[in-house]
Symmetry: C2
Subunit: 199 residues, 2 copies
Amino acid sequence: MTDTRPLRADAARNRKLLLAAAADEFAEHGLDASVADIARRAGVGKGTVFRHFATKDELIAAILIDRMEALSELGERLYESGDAEAALREFLTAAAMQRQERDLSFLAAASASMPEVNRARERMFAAIDRLVDRGRERGAVRDDVTGADVFLLMCAPNYVAGYVPNASPDLWRRYLALILDGLRPEGARPLPEQAPELD
Amino acid sequence: MTDTRPLRADAARNRKLLLAAAADEFAEHGLDASVADIARRAGVGKGTVFRHFATKDELIAAILIDRMEALSELGERLYESGDAEAALREFLTAAAMQRQERDLSFLAAASASMPEVNRARERMFAAIDRLVDRGRERGAVRDDVTGADVFLLMCAPNYVAGYVPNASPDLWRRYLALILDGLRPEGARPLPEQAPELD
DNA sequence: CATTAACCGGACCGTGCGGTCAACTTGCTA
DNA sequence: TAGCAAGTTGACCGCACGGTCCGGTTAATG
């Protein structure tokens, strides 16, 4: 945590293997994926998992932080680009692709209230907020939609597509497009309920 | 199942108590809600649960069937009404309210491939399909949206709102309205990916 | 009111989980 | 290349879960 001595070569490799195996396993079996299965998939012993991540929740948190940091960087980069509408679309597309065509948002519940996760989430939220604000100013996003709305809707395409048994792996694109159409000003009717405050 | 001798009075009462308690418990704790907790909440012993439902999955299936049948009836009744757009909106509103402001769709996974559940699901799907077809004919629904799309999007408002910690219990209405805006023809851009075939 | 089949309850069982630990192996460094 | 801290491993632990079972209880029937 504080002392950042570099990991030994095999340890660093195993850590990456574990994160990848865990993401796959969670995508296939949900939160119930067992640590033993994750270890087997990564080709290591179960003890190794707990050497790297003190608890299962910490492993989940590590996956979440990785992904949210990557999305934050992308969001910040897209803010530099010119096209407000394309930026938002690309951001949401990247968010959906990152989840291996499977909604992984359920992981968030397991590691809520871990400070590092919260920090990563706040950074990502800020990036989204800026993209949405700019989109609203340029007329690409309807007036009554906020960053919090988009933040919440981010996982919906994967969630929806996840209920189709043998779906095309790109089915989520259909529902992302549908939601994006709902976010645009054309044909918008005033939304009920106030937009939620996040934090 | 085949012999439908009426339940004894106490048994019938306990069955209802159990279904209600189970729905509440699942809403609060997800699929991991324990049978013991459900029994406690209903004020009965654990053995009673298994007398009524041979397995936890069967209990889940009973909840699902109850709700899907109710929605099917509503959908069929709304088809008789005149206003195609209002019918669809009311149907989706009722679907969301039934879930006690919480996405319960994860229950579907647990009891997929149970014939009775499938029959109830097919009936509900047919009801939705007719509502959507009519809506499309009358210009209330965009051309490229199918009943399967609406069926899949049905749970999304509760899902989305469920991630807000201390949300207004009606927050789902906001996201339902947003999705409904996306379903209308105004401002629609062609959707990518084919609509999925369900069964 | 007596009889009885249906119902109830909670102690009990096997299983699989997250997490621990002590013996063993291995990458680093001097 | 020797020494050792860091890393690895799988047997093991406690626990909570889904599900069973049987002695006690209760609602229906004549």
